[in-house]
Amino acid sequence: MAHWPLLSVLIWLPIVGAVLVLALGRDARVARWLSLLVALLTFVASLPLYIGYEAVAGGMQFAESHLWIGGLKAYYGLAVDGISVALIVLTTFTSVLVIIGSWGPINKRVSQYMAAMLVLEGMLIGIFAATDALLFYVFFEAMLIPMFIIIGVWGGPRRVYATLKFFIYTFLGSIFMLIALIYLHMKTGEFSLAAFAAAPLSATEQAWLFFGFLAGFAIKVPMWPVHTWLPDAHVEAPTGGSVILAAIMLKVGGYGFIRFSLPITPDASQEYAWVVIAMSLVAVVYIGYVALVQDDMKKLVAYSSVAHMAFVTLGIFISLALVREHANPDAARLGMQGAMVQMISHGFVSGAMFACIGVLYDRLHTRMIDEYGGVMNVMPWFGGFFILFSMANCGLPGTSGFVGEFMVILASFQSNPFIALVAAFTLIIGAAYTLWLVKRVIFGEVTNPKVAKFKDLDAREWIVLGSFAAAVLALGIYPKPLTDLMDSSVLQIVNALMLSKA
């Protein structure tokens, strides 16, 4: 394995594939098959990463490093730990399903759509594999471009507003991050994350850097109160765009907190952890109530994403509090693992929810809840899947949605039972908005005559929803392989948190 640059292959295979798809994909069928082939190959290529990663040893593996911009001492540096492996496999898995899912609904400029998806996949893998901050930043910004195109070209009627909002919002955040990175470069003379983490920084420096990172990543996650771009982006995005956005792009924010904020500014992170924790708790309650009153399915699920991602930020920063203030590294590991499991699970669950909405949208071309009703009568299989994913969204044990939230709540309780109390409110409000959606869309008599003509899932939709369902159940019934994969990496991060830099 050592001589085979697996990570580079994973990044560039879909991007080169995208070029091929553009070149050869005049015929929509060719474009579809070719892009599926590329995505499948990438997925298969990501399996050796999972199998070959030595979880017990932990640390960074599969490293590659080449000087990239000599003057800046910027490297093309790639390596992965357990956390990155999990996120990369999530990316390659979801990408395959997104490409299959887009076969039917996307009819214009097929090759370009597929190419954009593949480029996006490559960029995302790059983000999760980069060990050099500049390289990370390049991927981080570059991934906006294919997403911008996907929403802007194949999106809904208000796509221009949505894309601008999406782009400006996220770009604004990353500017602050860029300033932070430039400062760190001036300080250390290089761009490697390891050097950044090792650099001694005063409390004031850390505070400025922390808020620089916070601006970049909080918008990405997105955290309350900078979440308002997400519902608009989702509503206008085509199904595939929404799935990728929810399942993977949001994870970049959480990943950023773990890779940048915690190791580079641990003391400031501790000092301002309460800010992030408070924002997360507000998100759970506030966003829960906002989700309850949405008339648009996609907006509802988008808001529910914000509420669920709050468990990621809560888990990350509660573990900091646990390490620093309660000297309880065990619970800290639980919180951090919970955050990570929640990221992976949310990838499956929200991806599946958006895929389900896409299935409905393809039939009726509306996302308005009150146009539906009684779908169970005409699409029993779909109804079954929808209920399963809804239950995962409510965090029912036995589905993946439970695992992360359970761990984060257990860990939060050890820091402060009142934090756990507010977080656990998701059990009630999450069930309320999700089941009310199910009641109005799936159950009841068919009232809309167009719904009465619905056909149940076709084979292609079956594959997509069935794969998501398998993942949701597998992770819910037996999460140990995932937690084992990430365990030593999480331990390293938690151990690093104990060291002060100031």
């Binding site: 909002k165 309850l292 590991r333 639980l334 693992q337 044990p397 939060s412 656990a424 009841g444 140990k480």
Partner: protein, 681 residues
């Protein structure tokens, strides 16, 4: 001797297998195959559960406590899937699988004309799996899994007829109200992990709780500075909030009456015999924790007593046959909870068991009546059914006698034990509880016999006119109330056989088991009671066998109170039905209170449902759209305005640019000169 792990796995997995086959392939393999595979699975579980019970009680098998697999392991925190099989568990397994088997068989008849036949079998088998996971668990994680899984199946089954607006409202309500309980339950589990030794396994937690050197009873924590709270109290009240949701205790009881929207077999299985008793089972299982906190037990006691009396009262004014039984279930769950509250856990569990048999019987009997009446559930349109359906009639009498606590019947033993235990207890609130449970005896007799008289006795209050109606079982609105297409008749054998098989234990099970279960060593270490709280032990001194207890029963207040209830009910509903209407008029305010169920539903609907929606709208429109997006769009338009100003500079006239350049140059040079002179000075 050890129990065989593979037997235990088979007990759990056989119903799951049946559920998956019937659920995924039901339409393809057909009705007979679907019900065969699920019934075979549950029957296998039932037989093996009886075998396990036999081995534990008579075969000298040791308590089984093993993990099956590790769910996750992070640092010192680990979660497993595993089984703890002691006599408490074994009893629950037998009750669950036996009642489930009866309900499976009964369903063949009850759902015969329903399109969702296969789906129904899949759900009830899945329920059996979930409930077994719950009772067989050896740790809090799996307990919570089973807890939520039975909630899910309950949700699916209440909404089984998903076209009915009332059904899909009821199932959503049930799930959300249960989630309120689970919210407390989850926090309780988190508290257990934090304060009781960092483990989720029962054995380790209980060992920690009972370790005298740790003295957990006096351990307290200041969650709010200056207010030390006993940790056991916090944990137990949180856990009990979970039980209040699942076992429908006031004020979280509101979902259970509405759950009657589901088909009757599941009302019997889930909402009477098994799932709703999960809370009782859980508290009994956690007795080593609850014993630490006097405060928590008082809380349990008061909630239980309130539920026992006040929900029973509502039952007296209901006209829907299933709702009467439902309110009776609420009231009986209150009795069980009262028993837990006075540390008489074994009495609570004992009542759980007897109740499972006679209440399942009553529900299935009610279902049999409903089939005969072509899905008419209003007792005002029944009457005189005894001559049409003798088996249902007699078994319903047996069930009602057991429920009312007629001496010798199963319910007599368990309810009397609870009442006496409350009388024996000195716990704060025991006086109030004693009043509630005694008054409840009168109420129980009143609604039980009212149901029997209105349904089976007296004048026939329906008309049989075959010409006018086609009959469609699916749709109750289809019929004019009180009109039947053809005369009611006794249900088929798949319905009556389960009735008979449940009637037998409803008569004898109390007599046979009270000795060992309450006053013997049946539960062993499964239930822990501190010596000072041991009211059952006190009662045991006066216990001289079941027969003596029956004879003794005739001289006790509960018997006379129940008899009074029976006489009043007979006098009114058998002989003078007019009096009921007169009483209703005379006591109009009281009737309004009961008919409106103390306005709990209205209150919750107004505050939590409508209030929540209003709150959400306010946040969305007020905060998200106006404040946050206002700021974002505002800053965007600010940029727009600034750039509009800047754009004016780019006028395109050369002399403007030239002027600007000269101005800039002057400023730059002047500024530099100014700065440099300062530095030089």
């Amino acid at each position: 001797m050890m129990l065989d792990k593979s037997i235990l796995l088979t007990i759990v997995l056989a119903p799951l297998f049946g559920a998956l086959v019937a659920g995924l392939f039901g339409k393809r393999i057909g009705r007979v195959a679907s019900h065969s595979v699920t019934i075979a699975g549950v029957a296998l579980s039932c037989v093996l559960s009886i075998l396990v019970l036999y081995k534990l009680v008579w075969g000298g098998a040791e308590v089984f406590n093993q993990n099956i697999y590790t769910w996750f392991e992070v640092g010192s925190t680990s979660a497993h899937v595993g089984f703890l099989i002691d006599r408490l568990t074994a009893m629950m397994m037998v009750v669950v699988t036996f009642v489930s088997l009866m309900v499976h068989v009964y369903t063949i008849g009850y759902m015969a004309e329903d399109d969702g036949y296969e789906r129904f079998f899949s759900y009830i088998a899945l329920f059996t799996f979930s409930m077994l996971m719950l009772v067989m668990s050896n740790n809090f994680l799996q307990l919570f899994f089973g807890w939520e899984a039975v909630g899910l199946v309950s949700y699916l089954l209440i909404g089984f007829w998903y076209k009915r607006p009332t059904a899909i409202f009821a199932n959503m309500k049930a799930f959300i109200v249960n989630r309120v309980g689970d919210f407390g339950f989850l926090l309780g589990i988190a508290g257990v992990l934090l304060w009781f030794g960092g483990s989720l396994d029962y054995a380790a937690v209980f060992a920690h709780a009972q370790d005298p050197s740790l003295d957990m009873a006096s351990r307290s924590v200041e969650l709010i500075a200056g207010h030390p709270w006993q940790v056991a109290t916090i944990v137990c009240i949180c856990l009990f909030i979970g039980a209040m949701g699942k076992s429908a205790q006031v004020p979280l009881h509101v979902w259970l009456p509405d759950s009657m929207e589901g088909p009757t077999p599941i009302s019997a299985l889930i909402h009477a015999a098994t799932m709703v008793t999960a809370g009782i089972f859980m508290v009994a299982r956690m007795s080593p924790l609850f014993e630490l906190s006097e405060t928590a037990l008082t809380f349990v006691l008061v909630i239980g007593a309130t539920t026992a009396l006040f929900t029973g009262l509502i039952g007296v004014v209901q006209n829907d046959i299933k709702r009467v039984v439902a309110y009776s279930t609420l009231s009986q769950l209150g009795y069980m909870t009262v028993a837990l509250g006075v540390s008489a856990y074994s009495a609570g569990v004992f009542h759980l068991m007897t109740h499972a048999f006679f209440k399942a019987l009553l529900f299935l009997g009610a279902g049999s009546v409903i089939i005969a009446m072509h899905h008419e559930q209003d007792m005002r349109h029944m009457g005189g059914l005894r001559k049409y359906m003798p088996i249902t009639w007699i078994t319903m009498w047996i069930g009602s006698l057991a429920l009312a606590g007629a001496p010798g019947f199963a319910g007599f033993f368990s309810k009397d034990a609870i009442i006496e235990a409350v009388g024996e207890s000195h716990r704060l609130g025991a006086g109030y509880a004693y009043f509630c449970v005694l008054a409840g005896v009168f109420i129980t007799a009143l609604y039980s016999f009212r149901l029997l008289y209105m349904t089976f006795h007296g004048k026939q209050r329906f008309v049989v006119d075959p010409v006018k109606h086609h009959h469609g079982h699916e749709d109750p609105e289809h019929h004019a109330p009180g009109h039947l297409a053809h005369a009611p008749h006794e249900s088929p054998w798949v319905v009556t056989v389960p009735l008979v098989l449940l009637a037998i234990p409803s008569i004898v099970i109390g007599f046979l088991t009270i000795g060992p279960m309450l006053f013997g060593d049946y539960f062993g270490n499964a239930i822990f009671v501190r010596e000072a709280n041991n009211v059952i032990g006190e009662l045991g001194h006066g216990f001289h066998g079941a027969l003596a207890m029956i004879l003794h029963g005739f001289s006790q207040p509960p018997f006379w109170i129940a008899l009074a209830g029976f006489i009043v009910a007979t006098w009114i509903w058998l002989f003078n039905p007019r009096i009921a209407d007169k009483a209703e008029n005379a006591l109009r305010p009281l009737h309004a209170v009961l008919a409106n169920k103390y306005w709990f539903d209205n209150l919750y609907q107004a505050v939590f449902a409508r209030g929540g929606i209003r709150f959400g709208r306010g946040l969305w429109r007020g905060s998200d759209a106006t404040l946050i997006d206002g700021a974002i769009n505002g800053s965007a338009s600010l940029v727009d305005q600034v750039s509009a100003l800047l754009r004016r500079l780019q006028s395109g006239y050369l002399y403007h640019y030239a002027f600007a350049m000269i101005l800039g140059l002057i400023l730059l040079l002047g500024g530099s000169w100014w700065v440099l002179t300062r530095i030089a000075a």
